[in-house]
Symmetry: C2
Subunit: 416 residues, 2 copies
Amino acid sequence: MSGQFSYLTHLECGRCAETYDATRLNGTCTSCGAPLLARYDLTAIARDCSPGSFIDRPPTLWRYHELLPASSREAIVTLGEGMTPLLPLPNLGRALGIERLLVKDEGGLPTGSFKARGATTGVTRAKELGVSAFAMPTNGNAGAAWSAYAARAGLQACIVMPEDAPAITRRECSAAGADLYLVDGLISDAGRLVGELVARTGWFEASTLKEPYRLEGKKTMGLEIAEQLGWRVPDVIIYPTGGGVGLIGIDKALRELQELGWISSEKLPRLVAVQAAGCAPIVEAFEAHAADSRPWQDTSTIAFGINVPKALGDFLILQAIYASDGCAIAVSDDAILAESLTLARSEGLVPCPEGAATVAAARALRRSGWIADGDEVVLLNTGAGVIYPETLPVRFEPVARDGRLPIQPGVHEAGM
Amino acid sequence: MSGQFSYLTHLECGRCAETYDATRLNGTCTSCGAPLLARYDLTAIARDCSPGSFIDRPPTLWRYHELLPASSREAIVTLGEGMTPLLPLPNLGRALGIERLLVKDEGGLPTGSFKARGATTGVTRAKELGVSAFAMPTNGNAGAAWSAYAARAGLQACIVMPEDAPAITRRECSAAGADLYLVDGLISDAGRLVGELVARTGWFEASTLKEPYRLEGKKTMGLEIAEQLGWRVPDVIIYPTGGGVGLIGIDKALRELQELGWISSEKLPRLVAVQAAGCAPIVEAFEAHAADSRPWQDTSTIAFGINVPKALGDFLILQAIYASDGCAIAVSDDAILAESLTLARSEGLVPCPEGAATVAAARALRRSGWIADGDEVVLLNTGAGVIYPETLPVRFEPVARDGRLPIQPGVHEAGM
């Protein structure tokens, strides 16, 4: 296969369609403030590549480099991220009455969450375009990921997270050498602090959707799902939605694949945004058929990654839901905790709370009939359960080293 | 490609070479008590397959199914494990004076450690051979992995771990539904408790090297390294050694690949067993040119996974070291903690303490000249740093939500 490494052509505002030069460092649209989207020469990609082009490439998300923004292989800042498993869940599927149920398990990515996808593309481009230091607000996992990739690239990271964010992510940021600040508030408060810093110092701002390339990494979840299913799409994709970049990215990926002719143009999956009952601005907007969301007051959920009162890309999330005939649904913290164990015990996969929320959503949507007989459903587990140990129950019995295990013969026996 | 799914033929004692029927459930050698090793019809594999056979298979360790013990694809109990990244470490390599330094990063495997490799093969075979419940001692990570795969397979797991084992692994076992016991002692005490249970009840014993198939999963680290390097081997592989199954497995894999003719028969990597200064029975034996190790008294190390006073397979570890012209080396806990940060800050990879121990060993062996100019060196990071959060320092500044970040302009600026 010949051709360019990347077919990136320009950036385009996701709201007003104004275009920007992709060889320069850009933030949001200078006209309307909306996120910028990377655009590619899809006609040329369709000419130079095919699904077969990817078969013998290493199993990282950079296998799709034509559809990604790095200008060369040498420019890539990578920790080997991507091609996470798409696992059938036969036991849970039977329990929920969803025969074809799968999970895309993102817990094995570097730093333990899907945030590594956005960090590899975001840091790669920041470095390529001359950034030496950046600042970002985070609910924890994105900070851990961007700190790691910043260390790999030799950039300085300034991370601002709520003091209630998962404690392990603090350690990940610190270990990787980031400057870490904890705010007595929410990610929106962290975002304001970063905004003030950026305005005052000229640091680069890597907030969600305030730079265009994180989205491109998240997009690869959609590319991988399509490839792993043999270049077709499922009926439903259920995604835990805070900032919503993953959902926007999956939608963007599948539309690019349609335009390339690599998946059928007839069907896109119905996209489901799952939120926590204690922070559900997208659900509220969806139910009101609104184009944008309103900031949620007094947010609260154990699924900390989706505790986002107002997403910058809310209108893109809602567009993707409406266009795909999808929906938005809120689930309770109790349901999230319960489904975390359901998934762990039935399939051996210990999800993060955000991932468990997709199980709760699948159960509710199947019960209501929104998920129909025979639908193929993909859940996104966006991170490893171990990042949130306090959400996992622990039960054990102590036993003395000179004692014996209190188990009687005959309860379980080897099958010989 | 035609051919069988697995070319497993029989089991063979690693000490006395007595053979056993692989279609039956076996533990250790009934003659001498040593571990049994799986043997394959390598001649037939060489006839039916080639390195090219693997190119278009999914990126899990089961891509090597001909060299693995599952009798069919349907029998496999999998969570999508394998094909972990083999990452160049240019920054750390420069600092250590090792130009070609790489790490095999096992932190992204299900349950966050390389133990998933042994669990997928061990649980697959246990289930195939009719086991419905098993018991095992563990230093934490193996228990977490085997609990997960047991849940996936519908088996009951009884896990016994020291009360000092990493706290997160308790939660992983509990979440997956295992029966968990904590003993006020070491893994050797847990092993005695399991041995008594097994003798009394007939439960299957899944202790390290007391069943033959965990080793086969660990072997795939060697297969993947060879494939990822283009079917050749590095000069040195440095492995954190407790029970030592990974080192034995890598050695076994590379010898099988030599016999298949898929890697050169001229060179095997020098294998290095790294131990903690507070628990170094293999190092002691190596220095005495002994064939076996003696139990280490009063063991102590923060690298909990390698706190193993006496490994059942010690003679196999030592054989592999001697035969490859390798060595064994002990490193201090202080060095482990320091190198954990060295790796995290220079490359963005937060290792587990056992993985950090390999960095300490590489530094010492380069300084002594044992690692020579131009040697290509592969480190094994056997798990994710986040499993051991207490070994990672945390430094942050609190900031009020109505305050500002205490950063002055000009310190770091975007490069535009």
